[in-house]
Amino acid sequence: MEILFIMIPLGIGLAALAVWAFFWAVGNGQFDDLDGPAYSVLLDDDPPPTRTKADDDER
């Protein structure tokens, strides 16, 4: 049962990692708008032709 001394800290470490990832996602605004992105997936398949990568590179 000594394995517990490794497995439990490991489990806590993983949980801490998950919390850190969640914090990062929240701070990054991933949870600010839960409706819009669902639509952007549907819509962005035929994007307006005016802005291209080349335009962005020029800037």
Binding site: A15, F22, V26, F31, G36, A38, L42, P49, T50
Partner: protein, 816 residues
């Protein structure tokens, strides 16, 4: 959404004779006007027609005047940009705009994509929930006015605004983080706790027990001090204000359970309650989060108050008209207001005469006539003629701002029922503290070790887990259930109060009626048929934009009226086939024939006349339609034993008519907001618990003064800010259902509290006698919590009782 008869773009009915079409993906689609035609072509031409595929609500009807050439130029001046534009880097700026008419995510998408196509626009983010747009742009290439004009042209009028939303976003983000820490912590600690419990049954090596205790402590510490911080700050605030609120017992229980667990763990005991601490924090945070979400949803409409006042005004100086930002206006300036525009400041009319729609401010549903020397208030809308006013009060001093302040003050007073709930909860903790102290004092002389253990057992076994969960879990379940039915709870205590409501007071305008004027009855006075009179009237009214004219819009008229003139506050005059006709007030109509004005029945406010140069031809009775579901809803409320009243700002006769038709015996009319508030206070003094259902800005102080207030989502958005509950769809039906659910919720709260008390009453003596074994306390506590939560969850199930209350599908999905 797109029947043959309605506009593909905005969904409004297409007027007769319009034959406009727009090609969308190669298919011609009918539109109702040149504005919609232009916008739909614009969207399609820019490759954005995907918008039509995913939208869930019709588009706003574009406002031709909004896209006027000079309206937005003023926003390129630094004074006008003070609040809403911040420099981002050397060449770029960042602007925050509040956008009208965003009804769903597709609107946000459309705005983002059409703006990104403009040269000089870097980044656009539109939040469909709050209606705010954040734009990063290069002012040198794309001036702010161009961006705002582009939005207005699509039918989404932008308003400059500060960055007030960031506070709500920050609060939401912090709440999510706390929830995550508490959730992860609870799951971890629970697994450790299970090992320790089983250890108590089957025997556990003290090394492992101590190790489990140590890791439990390690994980629950951030849960308590990071995730649980709102409870401590809340408790401190309560204590500083010298009252014992809900947060005080929560904070006390958390600290004591945590401290006792540490102490016991150090003693090598398995009497640790870290799992209870984390569970308690997590469940309470879920409740707070749901409550916060509802509050934010309701609160972002506060901005609607600012939207009532236009951002720009046309100032006259030495006969020259210039468009300036309202912030630049001074007292004494002369401002021109065109029909369709909103009044920018309080003032006095110095030239012209017009009718003004003040319904947002006074609740008066009919536009008011204002001539030279008469006062006008900021936020009212000019509906008929151009006029000029001299500015007398600006910004914070306007009537509109005063209403806002009145609202704040009324909101600051908490209903007494909220206090009562807090009082009972705080008494329980105080009682437990005394019992624990008594137990300690009792055992101390004989056995000091047992004294501490027993006192702690009392504190822990009576840990208000079940008691603390009893109310929030039931309230959260009830709140969810109500939201599914279309009634949004914006204040934590509203649900509790709704269950105890004895009186429901309706504001007549727009709450019991649909707000659309219709012709109820035609009474021919001369040798014309009713239908003929309707056709003549319709031909005249075609030339008017007055609400009454809408009542005639459905009438098919072969006639064509010429030279139609509007006489403010009186009616219309025009010529049909060489015949001079008038429609309007009986006296106005009778004036051209020289005959005495037609006498009309007592409910005069609802009658208009039609006449020619010989005689008055017919009378029309105009009514505001009663909502189709109103009668059924009121009947259900009566069956629930609730008294119904109408307190309206309208004229006496229409109020009486509506009350009579709905069988409401108690009604009052022509009340000012202050009268309504006084009436509600009087009812409350007599012991009544009053719910007010309203929809206008003028209701806001009244709504805030009620024990529980319900606003119609389709009504003036501002009313939602002061209301404790918001109807999401355009139906009264959820009110009746809401009362039933609130009562069931209250019953569940009582059951839960009863169970929690019973458990505590049984467990306390055992703990006090030093009898209670650790695993018994742990299991007892968990089971009591579980019973409470499961009991609350049954509120979420729909029962046949509900089906009887709502016989129609709910409008929640339409609310978008």
């Amino acid at each position: 959404m797109h029947d043959a008869g309605s506009c593909f773009h905005c969904g409004e009915p297409i007027p007769r004779g319009e034959n406009r079409h727009v090609l969308i993906k190669g298919e011609p689609k009918p539109v109702c006007c040149a504005g919609c035609e232009a916008v739909a072509s614009l969207i399609s031409g820019a490759g954005l027609d995907g918008y039509y595929r995913i939208r869930t609500a019709p588009a706003p009807r574009p406002d031709d005047a909004a896209a006027g050439p000079d309206e937005w130029d003023v926003f390129d001046r630094p004074q006008a940009q003070q609040n809403c534009v911040r420099p981002f880097d050397d060449s770029r700026s960042e602007a925050t705009l509040l956008v009208e008419n965003i009804s769903c995510a597709a609107c946000a998408w459309l705005i983002e994509h059409s703006l990104r196509q403009l040269d000089g626009v870097d980044e656009v983010q539109v939040n469909p929930a709050s209606g705010r747009a954040l734009i990063r742009f290069e002012p040198a290439k794309a001036p702010l006015s161009r961006l705002m004009r582009a939005m207005a042209r699509l039918g989404y009028r932008p308003h400059p605004t500060g960055s007030g939303e960031s506070a709500a976003v920050a609060e939401r983000r912090a709440a999510l983080k706390r929830l995550a820490v508490a959730g992860f912590g609870m799951m971890q600690v629970s697994t450790f706790a299970v090992s320790v419990w089983f250890g108590a049954f089957q025997g556990i090596d003290p090394v492992y027990r101590d190790f489990m205790n140590a890791v439990s402590w390690l994980v629950s510490t951030p849960v308590l001090f990071y995730a649980g911080r709102p409870f401590f700050t809340g408790a401190l605030r309560d204590l500083r204000a010298r009252r014992i609120g809900m947060d005080v017992p929560v904070a006390l229980a958390l600290v004591l359970a945590y401290a006792a667990s540490i102490w016991n763990a150090l003693q090598g005991s398995d009497l640790v309650y870290f799992d209870s601490v984390t569970m308690f924090v997590f469940f309470l945070l879920i409740g707070r989060y749901v409550e916060m979400t509802a509050r934010h949803k309701a609160a972002h409409t506060t901005e609607a108050l600012a939207q009532l006042v236009p951002a720009t005004a046309r100032r006259l100086q030495d006969g020259v008209e210039t468009r300036v930002a309202v912030a630049e206006l001074g007292i004494g300036d002369i401002v021109a207001v065109a029909p369709g525009e909103a009044v920018p400041a309080d003032g006095v009319v110095v030239w012209g005469e017009s009718r003004l729609d003040e319904s947002m401010l006074t609740g008066e549903s009919k536009p008011q006539r204002r001539g030279v020397g008469e006062p006008v208030v900021a936020g009212s809308v000019n509906v008929s003629h151009p006029f000029r006013l001299r500015v007398e009060r600006l910004g914070q001093d306007t009537v509109l701002s005063t209403i806002g302040r009145l609202l704040d003050r009324a909101q600051a007073q908490r209903p007494r029922l909220a206090h009562a709930a807090d009082w009972i909860a705080s008494r329980f903790v105080v009682a437990v503290l005394f019992i624990a102290a008594g137990v300690y004092a009792y055992w101390w002389p004989s056995d000091p070790a047992l004294a501490f253990q027993a006192a702690l057992a009392v504190l822990v076994v009576s840990c208000p887990c079940a008691l603390g969960l009893a109310t929030p879990s039931a309230l959260v379940a009830g709140t969810d259930r109500l939201a599914q039915s279309g009634l949004l709870v914006a204040r934590a205590d509203a649900l509790e109060t709704l269950a105890k409501v004895t009186h429901v007071v309706f504001d007549k305008t727009g709450t019991l009626t649909t707000g659309a004027i219709a012709i109820d009855q035609v009474r021919p006075l001369a040798d014309v048929s009713g239908d003929e009179a309707m056709r003549l009237a319709a031909a005249l009214e075609q030339h008017s934009a007055h609400p009454i004219a809408h009542a005639f819009a459905e009438v098919d008229s072969p006639y064509h009226a010429e030279r139609v003139e509007a006489h403010a506050g009186q009616g219309l005059e025009g010529w049909i086939g060489g015949r001079r006709l008038r429609i309007g007030t009986p006296a106005f109509v009778a004036a051209i024939s020289g005959s005495p004005a037609a006498t009309v029945p007592a409910d005069e406010a609802g009658w208009i006349a039609l006449g020619d140069e010989q005689r008055t031809l017919a009378l029309f009775r105009l009514i505001d339609h009663i909502r189709p579901e109103a009668a059924a809803v009121l009947e259900t409320l009566r069956q629930l034993g609730i008294e119904l009243e109408i307190a309206s700002g309208d004229q006496a006769e229409p109020v009486a008519a509506v009350a009579e038709r709905l069988g409401i015996s108690r009604y009052a009319s022509r009340l000012t907001p202050a009268d309504k508030l006084a009436h509600i206070r009087a009812l409350q003094r007599a012991g009544a618990v009053v719910a007010v259902v309203g929809d206008g800005v003028n209701d806001a102080p009244v709504l805030a003064g009620a024990d529980v207030s319900i606003a119609l989502g389709s009504g003036t958005a501002l009313a939602q800010t002061s209301a404790a509950m918001v109807l999401l769809g355009d139906s009264l039906r959820p009110i009746a259902e809401g009362v039933a659910i609130a009562r069931r919720t209250a019953r569940v709260v009582r059951q839960n509290l009863g169970w929690a008390l019973l458990y505590n009453v049984l467990a306390l003596p055992l703990a006090a006698s030093g009898w209670l074994l650790p695993w018994m306390a742990a299991i007892g506590m968990s089971v009591s919590s579980l019973v409470v939560v499961l009991n609350a969850m049954q509120l979420n199930r729909r029962r046949p009782v509900d089906a009887a209350v709502d016989t129609q599908p709910l409008a929640i999905k339409e609310a978008c």
